[in-house]
Symmetry: D2
């Protein structure tokens, strides 16, 4: 299929590569050039401007946040430039409010819109094994299915309203941060009583919590290895706050989310900028003054 | 081996049965008779008093809480009645403070003491597949190994200080309750935006959170099925509070534990007595007034 | 002095009345007409459009929130219509981010800008006894002083950067909500043990907590009287969230603010729309299921 | 009147002095000698053992915590030594559970029991201006009234069940700690935006929060003066935990109490042992990394 792809960060590059590898004709655009060249070397075509990437049957985008999506699609005019009949598949983790607005803006212009945020760190994206939420009209999803399946281990349909996929994505990221905070607090409790964090974490993530999230972040905590980030802590804060925004809109109290927000802020106040979410463990340890004890 | 077993609740009965099935000579005692008869029918011997169950090489106990352990072993005189050389393997989930006291009381009397709390719900105990933490002197653990392995999928050594196994058990239960609260809050966020809890939970527990804890409690939440309890909510509160006690003793702040305590209390205030830990989901839903919305 | 006044809600009307009463020539504008007529009857002049109210030496404004301020002053063009040399005194409780932006927008146009948010409920405003924070250039404040003193019991200077007055206002409102939540939780604890809320509150607010905030909200809680609102609960949530925004901008963890946000959301989910902040007491009571106990 | 007084800490000494000064015949006992001598020099009689102090019409006690009360009155046998007809007025801040037990133990022995915990720091006690909660049988309180009024600015009756006075005392101390945490968080928010803590605190405690609690602790926070303690932080933690215990007994969720507990623990982990409650401000500042910023 002839498709466009806007946004070639670590995740976007891996996803676009899989589209190329699956034989699709992919035209890419990215704010900075370096990522574009890499995709060209794999067989993609480079677009000078984002609207030129928007001329295929399907336009994928994987931008960093609400602001980037607004700048490119609304303020930057890409939506106005798209041909009616083109479907935009938005993989970004964005606010529920923006998701709703985008659905309306596309509909008003006769453009198809599918929300397809993904779970998976960069290595999973590179392997084409993402778990992809999809929400939008069934026929549009059907049309895009070969593309989506080139990037994903599995598609998880969430109904016809695009913003539902975004809510699920935010709720999932909230659960990820909860899991890390829980692991961090529990590890410090164990350490304060003389149990090695590594022993504790090996036990927990080998039994009741034998799930990818716990294993990946548990390993990082046990090894006190917080860079390079797989999931940047500052993005984790952004997502928790988006979950809180979505919760407020529907008046859903989430006390755990409140705690996570403060812990993440505390991490950033203490120098975790650029670190992985696992650096929440540093906050727990500092609160207990663990590293300064005799 | 000739062993005793004190405490035949749902978990204790299943564990003692596996000792009998493995060919050991097991003398059992329990406060109420009914559970004793069931074990007798499987081949165990009944003791009239707890100290008579304490006359083998190893005495196992699986009592409900600190109070029951104190009543039987300290106030009830079982420790005083035990022969020097006997080893007591305590499987109960108890406070770190009592664990320390018990280690001293055993040592003073020349008795062996091993802490061996377990992870696993009753069906897992019946299958002899528990995950068993063990802490105490290596030679005592070696001696008891055939017994422990008759009940467990795997032993997880936590060093020579018995209370460390108890800390890990409490830290683990704290993580379990955290996971449920997180799942409960996330599900309500999804539901408030029109996503079925079952769809959300299937997705999360089939991917990033594909671990027993999430799958078991997630299913209960999706089906709104909170009785009969696999892990009673009131016991979950007890364990979170024991984790807080252990944290306080070493001055370890655990903000997540603070939130869990309040949510569990709220569940009990609202009628969750006798329900499973999964009933935390009722609290999240009530906070958002979800069931009363049009 | 010849002054303008934009925004005649309950607070704004009371404040503008005091300017009229002090002998100033006040031209007023308000979105809806009713409030304007009341001020005209007191001697004020009505402006057809907001920019016509902006033609005196000083322009006061008391609008409800960020959105209203943006609509009138930025999108609505009032700033562009003001004469250089005019000083705008903004009494609204707005975000720190908007406060910074407004300072820049005024400076760029050669307009004076003073932030002067106030503490005090409507009856205090009517009596001209507000406590008024003031921040901005000293000479501008000096010029406006007779006006400000016509409305305030006292001016509290907070330096030359206007946004500092707004930070203090938000920090103060956060403290007010904290005080109410604390009073609400404490009262329910007392009630659950058989102490009348009124007895408890009379004692506390007559001794250690003999301050206006505790006395006003304590009385409302003791009498379970939550309408009409003196300080609307939904505005309290807005302000706590603005405090959180200001905290995030500087990476200041505020765990108490996190708890307040969830309690306020829970109040709104349960029907406290239109009620006073004191209705936080309903949430505490419901959590403990107090009213449904035998 | 002929009275006894057990417990001559800073508060007890001041209270007993006022009884002496009012002309009563006071026999005192204290674990350590130094405090006894000071009271003797004022005119009190020293008792060699606590039961000898228990031989007047009324026995006052002001001990540090549950453990001290248990050791002296229950395990130490003072209750058994008291003459029927003597009334014990217990001024200590103790748990609700112990308060209930003491009421029973006194009743069983035909002894009168009045709970009379106090609000006020040592200087207030010395001035005889305490606010004193009183609960117990009306006739016993009437009998003791001249004694109580020699120590208090005012008596606050809380009914016939002694433990109610203790609940109110704990609820009040919870409110004190809440107020300090709120002031601490708000001050750091202000400081992070360039407002001096002293300016912020002067404003707040001179207006809406013009109450003793805010003024006393606010001054300490503004001056960063945390020793010597007026109300030791570690005792504040003890009281918050007693409030939590009382809340749990009646299933009253108190999310604010949960936050306070963690903040107090964090303070102690970071070296606030021996400091005043106002040292909560150090925790807030550290979380925001305020002192390490450029």
């Amino acid at each position: 299929m002839k498709v466009g792809f806007i946004g070639l960060g670590v995740m976007g590059s891996a996803m676009a590569s899989n589209l190329v590898a699956a034989g699709h004709h992919v035209t890419v655009w990215n704010r900075s050039e370096a990522a574009v060249q890499k995709l060209e070397s794999l067989g993609a075509k480079a677009a000078r401007t984002p609207d030129r990437a928007a001329q295929g049957e399907v336009l994928h985008s994987m931008l960093a946040n609400d602001q980037a999506v607004r700048e490119v699609f609304l303020d930057g005019g890409v939506l106005d430039a798209m041909d009616p009949g083109t479907t935009h598949v938005n993989h970004a983790t964005i606010s529920v409010a923006l998701a709703r607005q985008l659905a309306e803006e596309h509909a008003r212009r006769g453009l198809g819109y599918v929300a397809a945020p993904v779970f998976g760190r960069p290595d999973v994206a590179a392997a084409g094994k993402l778990h992809m939420l999809v929400a939008g009209s069934a026929s549009l999803i059907e049309k895009a299915r070969p593309l989506l399946e080139a990037m994903a281990a599995r598609l998880w349909p969430m109904g016809a309203s695009p913003e539902r996929a975004n809510v699920v994505k935010l709720a999932g990221n909230f659960m990820i941060v909860s899991a890390i905070e829980s692991l961090a607090e529990a590890s410090v409790l164990a350490r304060a009583h003389g149990v090695e964090a590594a022993d504790f974490i090996e036990m927990m993530t080998g039994t009741l919590f034998a799930a990818p999230v716990y294993q990946i972040y548990g390993k990082a905590i046990a090894e006190q290895r917080f860079t390079p980030p797989g999931f940047e802590l500052s993005l984790g804060l952004k997502d928790v706050m988006l979950a809180q925004d979505a919760a407020r809109a529907e008046r859903v109290p989430m006390p755990l989310a409140g705690v996570l927000r403060e812990s993440l802020l505390e991490a950033l106040a203490d120098g975790a900028e650029g670190m992985d979410l696992a650096a929440l463990a540093l906050v727990s340890a500092r609160r207990a003054n663990l590293d300064r004890r005799a």
